[in-house]
Amino acid sequence: MKDTGRGGRKAAPAIFAILLFLFPTVSLASGTTAVSVTATVLSKSVCRFDSKSLALNFGNVDPEIQADATATTTAGFRCGGSAANATFAMVPDVGLHATGGFPRMQNGTVTSEFLPYFLALNPPTGTVPRNANQTLTVTGTIRRSDFQDAYAGTYTDTVVLTILP
């Protein structure tokens, strides 16, 4: 697999040179041409969560509470690979019921009822030593203005949290 990759990289400039040789006047005839150059540098690190499933439970929220409701959970992760230090980024999606880019939980009984919330990840990105255990803190917030007149019942959502690379 690795051998094939090296062969491919060597072959590419060779083919380009052959094309130049065969059609030296093509680009000249039309004056100028733009050559798009792109490159992708693969990370030498690989990061993994300790657990594939996390639970962020706000518990029972009383509409009478005079403050925002918050919930916190933590996730362990570590980065390996050939680099001594790994630069990671946490990328959450917006869940299953988002509107306007903001996530919402859905009422389990009355499916037309939603409860907006916010997620904060700490740290969202960073550089950590190879093979060292790290902890991500996930904090959720439901604004008082969003829950005080919410429909009674149980709400859920599922967010996929991706760690790169």
């Binding site: 706000f58 509409p63 939980m105 007149d149 149980t154 967010v159 690379p165």
Partner: protein, 156 residues
């Protein structure tokens, strides 16, 4: 702060777009339960019959300051009361201030009776209590002040 964070994530995404294989993901289950509660937001109400004049006669309706409550939206409520402190059977009665054996019966009703649906903390519901003393119940009553206290209970 949020803008900076989003920019950093975007940069990271671009830089690592080519290494989509080298990523891991976890599923975060987010859950909350909105409590189905009912509360009186005005904990006291009053019913005043004023001065009952036996000579004037006629049924007298009380002037009511209504208690107010709210329930979580979608929550069915039930309201009940204890028929006051001096009832006989299901008849409400006020007791004389000094003569403990003298009573004036009265009627006590509210339209927010039984069960109903809450509309959230922003949409308060008024009790709509109506109370009345009948002519026959006070024209021969002992002079003086009478009072009673009715305790209303809302659930859940």
């Amino acid at each position: 702060m949020k803008k900076v964070l989003m920019a950093m994530v975007a940069v990271a995404l671009v830089a690592m777009a080519g290494s989509a294989m080298a990523a891991d993901s976890a599923s975060v289950t987010v859950s909350a339960s909105i409590a189905g509660n009912c509360r009186f937001s005005t904990n006291t109400g009053t019913v005043s019959f004023g001065t009952l004049d036996p000579e004037a006669g006629g049924n007298v309706s009380g002037t009511v300051t209504q208690p107010v409550f709210w329930c979580t939206r979608g929550t069915a409520y039930t309201i009940g009361d204890d028929v006051g402190l001096h009832e006989t059977g299901s008849t409400y009665r006020m007791v004389h201030a000094t003569s403990a054996t003298d009573f004036i019966p009265y009627t006590f009703a509210y339209t927010a009776t039984g069960t109903g649906a809450g509309a959230g903390i922003a949409n308060r519901i008024t009790m709509n209590i109506a109370a009345q003393v009948l002519d026959a119940d006070y024209i021969n009553a002992l002079a003086g002040s009478y009072s009673d206290t009715v305790t209303l209970t809302i659930s859940p």
